[in-house]
């Protein structure tokens, strides 16, 4: 019943025995102990589980673990430097208060990195459209949009009123 799957996760070769029905997010969380990737819905809507597979953002709740055989997977745990130094997108989220409870954050950051890779120079409207598949309940998206814009198009970040 179980199948062996080998994949590269955050630069490391990992092998695990999975059932065919095991989702990639379940492999990451339950078997590899990488709990940074979250599950927020059952219908591929919320984006809490976004990771990169072969350098593209995907929803790891809607991909079987066996489908990741031989793939290069990057999760939120693989973004910061080994010494913990934040990736520029993570740093931007911190600078712009792009997170509150932190639950949607890993998916948001991974999507932000994907947007930055595909759409350098994107404007605010584009960034908002690109976040169609990522739901945040805390921030009203303001800090998230600002954070991503600050990486892809710093001139488009609107002025903050911290008065």
């Amino acid at each position: 019943m179980k199948t062996k799957v080998t994949l590269n996760v955050n630069g490391q070769e990992r092998t695990a025995e999975v059932e065919p029905r095991t989702l990639l997010v379940e492999l990451l969380r339950d078997q590899l102990g990488m709990t940074g990737t979250h599950v927020g819905c059952d219908t591929t809507q919320c984006g809490c589980c976004v990771i990169h597979v072969d350098d593209k953002a995907v929803k790891s709740c809607t991909m079987l673990a066996v489908q990741a055989q031989g793939k290069k997977v990057v999760t939120i745990e693989g973004l910061a430097a080994a010494d913990g130094t934040l990736h520029p997108m993570q740093e931007a989220f911190r600078d712009h208060h792009g997170l509150q409870c932190g639950f949607c954050t890993p998916g948001m950051v991974m999507m932000g990195v994907d947007i930055a890779r595909r759409l350098p120079g994107a404007d605010e409207k584009t960034v908002r459209e690109q976040l169609e598949g990522n739901i945040c309940r805390c921030t009203g998206y303001q800090g998230i949009v600002e954070a991503i814009l600050s990486v892809v198009n710093p001139g488009a970040v609107k002025e903050h009123h911290h008065a």
Partner: protein
């Protein structure tokens, strides 16, 4: 999710053999609809046959007056394809508004068309652009392909290998997004091929269809004004808690006019 056996054939022949062999087998392409369905235990196939490893199902090319898209080509690749953008920009822009970026990295044209979700975008393009569905067995004309809700002309064990889109003179796709899911409440692909005009509608009914009254008016005069007075009947259109059939009928007209204006 119920358990199943998983197969990853490397060739079309192997995939065909597997699907023929398994009592209750199902093909999986991008899995963007199938996996959520399995997670909610609305389906429980005995076997999943993954087409991701079948190289011959991928790729985009121009052949004469047609754009040929391999069934396992993902939406993001269609949206970003220079070949598609230069020949049928409307098709590229349609692919770019399906789902969300992560879904577009996994979801495929073949999977979308085989599944025939009434709210999917591609069926609008297939009908509107008069595409040909190429399978391992035959070529199916767009007008013969969509039958009803999640129902197509595909036979048991038949696998879509590619979709061939004739290159129109002008075309445009307009979509009205569902307030909750983001799926198409109404999507309209308008395409002009010389004197012929096709209007493919998705989202509004159980399956994609041609809006013949609009086509007739546009064949006479390809302008948004020409269809201002054309009304779609709400009879037989879908209703849900956000959008009634009357509203959908109205939106078909609006989206059609906007598509014509953009084309």
């Amino acid at each position: 999710m119920r358990n199943f056996d998983y197969h990853a054939p490397a060739s079309l022949d192997a995939a065909v053999a597997l699907i023929g062999d398994k009592e209750d087998g199902k093909l999986i392409a991008g899995g963007m609809t199938l996996l959520p369905t399995l997670k909610q235990r609305l389906a429980a196939p005995s076997d999943l046959i993954d087409l991701a490893g079948v190289a011959e199902l991928k790729g985009i090319k121009r052949e004469g007056d047609e754009i040929v898209i391999g069934a396992m080509t993902c939406h993001a690749d269609v949206a970003a394809s220079d070949v598609v953008k230069s020949a049928i920009p409307a098709l590229a822009s349609l692919a770019g508004v399906i789902g969300d970026p992560a879904v577009r990295h996994r979801g495929t044209i073949g999977g979308s068309i085989a599944n025939a979700d009434p709210a999917a975008d591609y069926p609008g393009a297939v009908v509107g652009l008069n595409a040909k569905i190429v399978t391992n067995k035959r070529v199916i004309a767009a007008d013969d392909y969509f039958i009803d809700l999640f129902e197509t002309a595909l036979e048991q064990g038949e696998i879509i290998t590619s979709v061939r889109f004739p290159i129109p003179e002008r075309a445009a796709y307009q979509k009205f997004r569902h307030p909750a899911s983001g799926y198409a409440v109404v999507g309209v692909m308008v395409a002009k091929f010389g004197a012929d005009v096709r209007v493919g509608v998705t989202g509004a009914a159980g399956s994609a269809f041609r809006a013949s009254d609009f086509e007739a008016a546009l064949s006479e005069n390809f302008s948004a004004d020409a269809i201002k007075g054309v009304k779609m009947s709400p009879d037989g259109l879908l209703s849900d808690i956000h959008c009634t059939n009357e509203y959908r009928a109205h939106l078909v007209g609006v989206m059609a006019r906007r598509a014509v204006a953009e084309a």
